[in-house]
C-alpha cells in the first residue's frame, strides 16, 4: 500500500504542500492562510517566535488536527494519517512512558508506525549503540537524563526510516553537544533521502541546516523560500572606518547610514563596491578598514518579520 502511495505521487511533487491553511480556535485565528511547499529531500525550517503558529501548522500538516479551511498534501496524500508509516514526528512536548525500557520505547514508537516490534527492537539496539546509549538500552526511561530521554524519543521518531521527518523545536532543552549531534543526525537523514521539516525560534540552527525556510509571524507566512533568497532581500552591509572625518568622500555615504562607534554602517549601493571605492579614494577618505558583509538570516528575519518578532525570538533564546 505504501508503495502504491509512493508511486502515485508525482516524482517531482513537493513532499509537503499546504494551500491557504486556516485554523481557528474559538474566536482566535491561530493560522491565517498559510501556503508553503517543502521540496523532497530538503531540510526545511519554520522560523518564528512562540505563539506564531508553528506548532499548529505542523500539527495540521501531519494530521493531528484538521484545518478549519485550506488543503494539505503530504507525500502525495490529502489525508496525512494515510501516510503515517512514512512519517516521523517529534512533538514539542516530549513524552515517553517512564517505566518502559529505552529500546522498548523506540520499538513502540516504531510499531505505532507499522514497524514490527521485533524489528523495532533490533533497530533500536543499533541506533542506541550508534548514539553511545547502548548501555542504557534495557534501562527504564525514568533512569535516563533529560538529554538521553530526548535522544531516545528522537531515535523513536526515525526508527521506522520515514521519508518525512517533522520535528517541533527539536533543539529545545539540548546542550551544545547534543545540539551538534542532532544537526548531524538531520543532515544524515536527508543524505539518506528523507525530507526534514523542523520548527525553531533559534535562527542559527536554521541558518546552518536549512536550504529553505518559512518565516512565520502572527499565523502567516511572511517569507517562504531559499535561505539565500531571504538574505537577498537585504543589500550587503558596508562597515567603513576612515582616518578623515570630513571631505568630498562623504558624498559616498548614504543619508540613512548610521554610526556604530568609529564605523559607518550602511547598505552597499546598487551600483556595487567599485564606484563606492573610487569615490572614497578620490575623495581622500583615508580608508582604515572596509568590510562588505553578507546579511545573515537574522537580519533577513528582522527585515521580513519585523523588529518586534525578532525581539521576541531573542527573548526566547535567552530564556
Amino acid at each position: 500500500m505504501l508503495q502504491q502511495v509512493s508511486q502515485s505521487a508525482a516524482p517531482f511533487a513537493p513532499a509537503v504542500e499546504a494551500t491557504e491553511l486556516v485554523k481557528d480556535f474559538g474566536e482566535t485565528r491561530a493560522v491565517d492562510g498559510v501556503t508553503l511547499a517543502v521540496p523532497k529531500g530538503s531540510i526545511y525550517g519554520l522560523l518564528g517566535p512562540n505563539g506564531a503558529g508553528k506548532t499548529t501548522i505542523l500539527r495540521m500538516l501531519i494530521g493531528i488536527i484538521d484545518p478549519s479551511s485550506g488543503t494539505r498534501r503530504v507525500l502525495g496524500q490529502e489525508r496525512p494519517l494515510e501516510v503515517a508509516p512514512e512519517v516521523g514526528y517529534l512533538p514539542e512536548e516530549r513524552g515517553l512512558y517512564p517505566s518502559m525500557y529505552a529500546r522498548d520505547a523506540i520499538a513502540f514508537m516504531g510499531s505505532l508506525r507499522g514497524l514490527p516490534l521485533s524489528e523495532g527492537r533490533r533497530r533500536a539496539d543499533e541506533l542506541l549503540e550508534e548514539h553511545n546509549l547502548g548501555d542504557w538500552a534495557k534501562k527504564p526511561i525514568r533512569s535516563l537524563s533529560k538529554g538521553m530521554a530526548q535522544t531516545v524519543q528522537l531515535l523513536g521518531t526515525i526508527v521506522h526510516r520515514p521519508r518525512l521527518i517533522v520535528l517541533d523545536e527539536p533543539f529545545a532543552g539540548l546542550d551544545a553537544i547534543n545540539q551538534g549531534r542532532l544537526e548531524e543526525l538531520i543532515r544524515r537523514e536527508t543524505r539518506a533521502g528523507a525530507t526534514v521539516i523542523f520548527s525553531t525560534h533559534v535562527i542559527a540552527h536554521a541558518e546552518r541546516l536549512c536550504e529553505r525556510v518559512a518565516i512565520i509571524a502572527k499565523g502567516r507566512v511572511a517569507f517562504d523560500g531559499r535561505v539565500d533568497e531571504a538574505r537577498a532581500k537585504l543589500r550587503p552591509i558596508v562597515r567603513l572606518r576612515t582616518r578623515a572625518a570630513e571631505g568630498p568622500w562623504r558624498s559616498a555615504i548614504p543619508a540613512d547610514a548610521r554610526r556604530d562607534g568609529e564605523e559607518w554602517v550602511f547598505e552597499l549601493p546598487e551600483s556595487g563596491p567599485e564606484p563606492l571605492l573610487k569615490v572614497l579614494i578620490d575623495g581622500g577618505a583615508g580608508i582604515e578598514t572596509l568590510a562588505i558583509e553578507r546579511p545573515g538570516l537574522h537580519d533577513a528575519f528582522v527585515a521580513i518579520a519585523g523588529p518586534s518578532a525578532a525581539e521576541a525570538m531573542g527573548r526566547e533564546k535567552v530564556q
Partner: protein
C-alpha cells in the same frame, strides 16, 4: 480497517503488558482477599455475638429435683426445635435472701443472665429483661409445661427421605445465584472500569498522547485502551474465579459440585458471565474513558466519575428487579435498557434455562457497545488533544 485493528492492537498490547506485567498487578490480583479477610474477621465476631444473643441464659433458682425435671423437659424440646435455638438453663441453689440473690444473678457477667426463674415448677416466677423477648418466654412456658407433664410433648417420629433438591429449594438457590452473579458483575465492572481513567491521565501527563495521535487514529487508541483493560480485567477475573473454585473444592464437602447450579448450567453461566462482563465493561468503560479525556488531573477525574458511579448504582438497582421474576415488565425493561441489560440477563441466566433470550440480548448489547464506542471515540478525539487555554468539557468544538 486492517490498519485500524493493527493500530488498536499496538496500543492494547502496550497497555496490557504495562498493566499485567507490572508488580502492582499482583496487588490487584490479591485485592479480593482483603474484603474476604475483613468479612471473615467481622463475620466470626458477629457470629460469636449472635450466638450469645441467640441463646439467652436463664438462671433457675430451685431444688435439684425441680431443675432436673426442667432440664429434661428442655432437652426434649431441643430435639424438636434445635439445640442452638433453645434457652440455656443454669442451676443455682436457693439462698436465704432471694431478692439479693436475684439482683446478684441479674448483674452477673459470666454467664450473662437474661432472667431468673424462681418458685420451682409449681409456682414459677420469672424476673428479668424479657419484655422484648417473647421467644425466651414462650420456650420457658413450654419447658415448664413439659416438666409438669413429662412425655406429653415428646415430638412425633417423622421419617425423612432427603432429596437433592425440590422446586422450592431450586427457586431459592437460583435466585441466590442470580443475585451473586449480578453483584459480582456490578462490582467487577465498577472497580475495573475505573482503571481506564488513570490510563488516559497517564498518557496526558506523560505527554505521549501527541506522539500516538500523530501516528494512528485516535479512535484506534480509544478502542485499544478499552480492550487492553478488558483483557487485563478478564485475566484477573479468571484468576479469582479459579482460586475461588479451588478454595471451595478444598473447604466445602463435595466441592463446587454442591453449589446451586444456575438454570442454564455452570458452563453456560460462566461463559455468559464473561460475555456480559465484557459488555457491561465496554459500555461503562467507554463512558469512563471519555470522561478521562476531558480531565487533566486525577481530582478532576474523580469529580467527574462520581455522577457516573451513582448512576451505575441506580442502574444496578433497576437490574436487580429482574431477580425472582425474569418475565415481569420491569425485568424485561431492565433487559432491554442497554446499560442494565448485562446485569439483568446474567440474573435471567441463573433462573431461566432458555438460550434464545440470551443470544438476542448479546446481539442487542453488541449493537449498543458499537454505538457507544463510536460516539465515545468521537468525543475522545475532539477533546483529548485540546491545547492552549482549557476549554469547558461541555463545549465540544472541533479541535
Amino acid at each position: 480497517m486492517m490498519r485500524f485493528i493493527r493500530s488498536a492492537f499496538v496500543i492494547a498490547r502496550r497497555d496490557f503488558g504495562a498493566t499485567v506485567l507490572s508488580k502492582t498487578f499482583i496487588f490487584f490480583l490479591l485485592a479480593p482477599l482483603f474484603p474476604l479477610l475483613m468479612g471473615g474477621v467481622f463475620g466470626s465476631i458477629g457470629a460469636r455475638v449472635a450466638t450469645q444473643a441467640a441463646r439467652p441464659v436463664v438462671a433457675v433458682v430451685s431444688s435439684d429435683k425441680d431443675f432436673d425435671r426442667l432440664s429434661s423437659a428442655r432437652s426434649e424440646l431441643a430435639q424438636a426445635l434445635g439445640e442452638d435455638t433453645m434457652v440455656s438453663l443454669v442451676h443455682y441453689p436457693a439462698e436465704p435472701n432471694l431478692a439479693l440473690q436475684k439482683a446478684r444473678l441479674l448483674s452477673s457477667r459470666n454467664p450473662p443472665i437474661r432472667a431468673v426463674l424462681t418458685g420451682g415448677i409449681d409456682h414459677p416466677r420469672l424476673t428479668g429483661s424479657v419484655a422484648d423477648d417473647p421467644g425466651t418466654l414462650g420456650q420457658l412456658r413450654l419447658v415448664i409445661a413439659n416438666a409438669r407433664s413429662p412425655g406429653e410433648a415428646t415430638p412425633a417420629l417423622l421419617p425423612v427421605t432427603n432429596v437433592e433438591s425440590s422446586s422450592g429449594s431450586e427457586v431459592r438457590d437460583r435466585a441466590l445465584t442470580a443475585q451473586i452473579g449480578q453483584m459480582l458483575l456490578f462490582f467487577f465492572t465498577i472497580l475495573l472500569a475505573g482503571m481506564l481513567l488513570s490510563q488516559v491521565i497517564e498518557e496526558k501527563s506523560n505527554k505521549i498522547i501527541e506522539v500516538i495521535a500523530a501516528a494512528i487514529r485516535i479512535d484506534a487508541m480509544f478502542v485499544g485502551k478499552l480492550f487492553a483493560m478488558l483483557a487485563a480485567s478478564i485475566t484477573g477475573i479468571v484468576v479469582w474465579i479459579s482460586a475461588g473454585a479451588v478454595l471451595i473444592q478444598i473447604m466445602k464437602h463435595g466441592g463446587v459440585a454442591t453449589l446451586p447450579a444456575p438454570a442454564i448450567g455452570w458452563p453456560g453461566f460462566l461463559a455468559l458471565g464473561i460475555i456480559y462482563f465484557a459488555m457491561n465493561y465496554l459500555l461503562l468503560g467507554a463512558a469512563f474513558l471519555t470522561i478521562g479525556a476531558q480531565a487533566s488531573t486525577v481530582r478532576e477525574v474523580q469529580t467527574m466519575s462520581l455522577p457516573v458511579t451513582f448512576t451505575q448504582m441506580l442502574i444496578f438497582g433497576f437490574a436487580s428487579t429482574a431477580i425472582g421474576s425474569p418475565d415481569s415488565p420491569t425485568a424485561l425493561a431492565a433487559a432491554i435498557f442497554p446499560l442494565s441489560s448485562p446485569m439483568a440477563m446474567i440474573a435471567r441466566a441463573a433462573e431461566d434455562p432458555q438460550w434464545w433470550p440470551q443470544l438476542v440480548a448479546i446481539l442487542w448489547q453488541g449493537l449498543w457497545v458499537a454505538l457507544i464506542i463510536h460516539f465515545g471515540a468521537m468525543l475522545f478525539r475532539k477533546t483529548v488533544l485540546k491545547s492552549g487555554p482549557q476549554s469547558k468539557w461541555w463545549r465540544l468544538k472541533r479541535a
